[in-house]
């Protein structure tokens, strides 16, 4: 089962012929992703020869869907063109657009997430590593070979923290890992993923990784209290982040008292979620929860 992405998913790559697009399309194919095409109006009609297969380049997302039946798009186009790319994908009726691009202006993200919602397209990202259903499909830039299929669902704002936990828990494995992105405005939230994991029979336990900024984790805590029956283990980064400074992720900024790591940790713990002090301790809490059968 997994969430959002399975071996049945047919994936287009917008910006496949660029440097990052080429590199990661190769990796996605190696991880078993069914990449059915790239999109680049300037290179329509050509093909790109990867080791696993020869991938056609389409002039538009619409054409790609028509020819291949694609239902997922992974977006690598540069920030200045990302808004147009996502709107094109939504107009073409793609079910899921995974926006890897970092550095998209917030006004553009506000516009395309609202537009996609009105068209029924789910957006993951922007500024995210994408998502992986180990052993089935990988849409984005998450390294596929550091873990294996299993029964943990993971949702995170951060890429490398996701990798760290995937690696520490590689012996148990994951149903799906979703990197929702660190920007202030993202298309898919912690809560969306919690709901999907709760409904997914392959997921037994959920790992939620958050960081300073905004109140997404506090809202996730309220959602867990009311709607999630599966065990949830949390981790929050940014306890030592100073007020008013952006720490790499545009969203990771503490201004004023709300949005602190401490407030998020307390909100999660108040709903019974165990929160690890370090990634390693978080992994231990996951193991304990699974062994305890809770």
């Amino acid at each position: 089962m997994a969430i959002y992405l399975t071996k049945e998913s047919k994936v287009l790559v917008q910006g496949m012929t660029g440097g990052e697009g080429m590199k990661h399309t190769r990796r996605m194919l190696a991880a078993g992703t069914d990449v059915v095409g790239g999109v680049n109006p300037q290179k329509a009609g050509r093909t790109v020869d990867f080791d696993e297969r020869v991938v056609p380049v389409f002039g538009s997302v619409g054409e790609g869907i028509e020819v291949t039946g694609a239902d997922v798009s992974v977006v690598f186009v540069p920030p200045a063109f990302a808004k147009a790319a996502v709107i094109e994908a939504a107009d073409a009726g793609i079910g899921l657009a995974v926006v890897i691009t970092e550095g998209i202006p917030v006004h553009d993200s506000v516009a395309f997430t609202a537009y996609a919602r009105s068209k029924g397209t789910r957006i993951i990202g922007p500024n995210c590593p994408g998502l992986i259903t180990p052993g089935q499909s990988n849409a984005g830039i998450i390294p596929a070979d550091i873990t294996k299929p299993g029964r943990i669902g993971l949702v995170s704002k951060s890429g490398t923290l996701t990798y760290q936990l995937m690696y520490e828990l590689r012996d148990i494995g994951f149903s799906t890992c979703v990197g929702i992105g660190g920007d202030p405005v993202v298309g898919t939230t912690h809560i969306d993923c919690l709901a999907a994991f709760e409904a997914d029979p392959d997921t037994e336990l959920i790992v939620l990784i958050g960081e300073i900024g905004g109140d997404a984790e506090e809202r996730a805590a309220a959602y867990i209290r009311d709607h999630v029956t599966k065990p949830v283990v949390g981790y929050i980064a940014g306890f030592t982040a100073p007020e008013g400074k952006t720490m790499g992720h545009a969203g990771a900024i503490v201004s004023g008292s709300s949005g602190t790591a401490q407030a998020k940790k307390e909100a999660l713990e108040a709903t019974g979620v165990k929160v690890g002090g370090t990634p390693t301790e978080t992994a231990r809490l996951v193991l304990a929860a699974l062994e305890g059968g809770t």
């Binding site: 917030v106 609202a114 900024g213 940014g238 992720h249």
Partner: protein, 376 residues
């Protein structure tokens, strides 16, 4: 990036919002001339990117041009919450009849902008919102429609603002969208005794991600206050100066933030945040190390890399090469984990640098770096 008050004022004026006559200067003599031009009596306001200027003595009324010069001399060079005052704004005083608050701010919860408005301006809006929430109107803005006259009228009515503010609300939305701002705030927006609506003070935060299409502020706007941060930015590094003694380098913002926490958990204080991203090439590693080692407060350096996309042997090669060009003066603790970790560790063992220590876990590496920092 936050703009200075005088830059926000400039934007408001360009978008047709009335502002008091004023000029910004770094010279007390010029302040005297400006005061003379404005009729003698003026307000001298420190230009710093922090709140609480008034309480800190950074905003003062001057009765005549001579007093304006004296006041400017007092305020220039003043330290307000760690910000040095380099410029003052000399502005005409305004006869205020009533004060309002208006802003557009990003509501991250729903991924939209929100209009916040109140007829009780002039003070901390957080305080008004906390004590009398009914006095603060919060109206979500549809990103496609934006703020039309009808929407502005709705905001004004909800907050109890006079109808003349509708035009200002529409124009302020223009500032937000056309300048790629994440926040525009006018506090106070005032009605003068003559019945004019004036933006008396404002705050604008621009979106750094939009700097590729918003070039007007150039280097001035996106400049870093801290010299180490400026040096790091010039090398394209994502560096934030902190006030501890353990330098931190890692790959990925989340992992680096987590590393800071783990260092703090070991009883040490991180000296900086430095995310070298996925690449971790020799050049980036060398640039990162040289910035961190130039911080006199640093006593040890922790490199925490998880090999995901980048394999650890490539990172180890990068560290070894960086050690050729950077003179290592402080102990360096390296933790490599993930893809090809064993090969990466073997490469560092082979280099056998006396100041380079290895650890296999994140917690262990942080403990080691903290101990080394305290041993000096």
């Amino acid at each position: 990036m936050d703009l200075f008050e005088h830059q926000a004022r400039e934007l408001f004026e360009e978008h047709g919002i009335l502002v008091p006559r004023a000029e910004v200067t770094d010279s007390p003599k010029r302040a005297r001339e400006v005061a003379r031009g404005l009729g003698g009596r003026v307000v001298v306001k420190a230009q710093v990117k922090t709140g609480g200027r008034g309480k800190a003595g950074g905003v003062k009324l001057a009765a005549d041009p001579a007093a304006a010069e004296l006041t400017a001399r007092q305020i220039l060079g003043m330290d307000i919450k760690g910000h040095t005052v380099d410029k003052v704004m000399v502005a005409e005083p305004v006869a205020i009849e009533s004060e309002f608050y208006v802003s557009y701010v990003l509501d991250r919860a729903v991924g939209r902008f929100l209009a916040i408005a109140s007829a009780e301006g002039g003070m901390e809006i957080e305080e008004v919102a906390a004590t009398r929430p009914e006095a603060v109107a919060r109206i979500p803005i549809d990103p496609v429609e934006g703020v039309t006259s009808a929407k502005a009228a709705e905001i004004a009515a909800a907050a109890g603002l006079p109808p003349q503010t509708v035009d200002v609300l529409v124009r302020l939305w223009g500032v937000l969208t056309r300048e790629d701002a994440l926040l525009v705030e006018v506090n106070p927006l005032v009605r003068t005794e003559q019945g004019r609506i004036l933006a008396l003070d404002g705050k604008v935060t621009l979106d750094d991600n939009a700097s590729f299409r918003q070039t007007r502020w150039g280097d001035e706007g996106f400049a870093h206050d801290d010299p180490l941060e400026a040096a790091a930015a010039a090398k394209g590094l994502n560096y934030v100066k902190l006030d501890g003694e353990v330098g931190v380098i890692g790959n990925g913002a989340g992992l680096v933030m987590s590393t800071l926490d783990v260092v703090a958990g070991c009883g040490a204080r991180p000296a900086n945040f430095l995310d070298i991203g996925g690449g971790a090439s020799a050049q980036i590693m060398a640039d990162g190390l040289s910035v961190i080692l130039s911080d006199p407060a640093v006593k040890s350096v922790l490199v925490n890399v998880f090999g995901g996309i980048t394999a650890c042997d490539a990172v180890a090669d990068g560290i070894v090469q960086a050690l050729e060009s950077v003179q290592l003066t402080k102990p360096l603790v390296v933790r490599l984990d993930g893809n090809n970790a064993l090969r990466g560790r073997a490469i560092l063992d082979g280099r056998d640098h006396p100041l380079v220590h290895q650890a296999t876990t994140m917690d262990g590496a942080a403990r080691r770096a903290a101990d080394l920092a305290h041993a000096i």
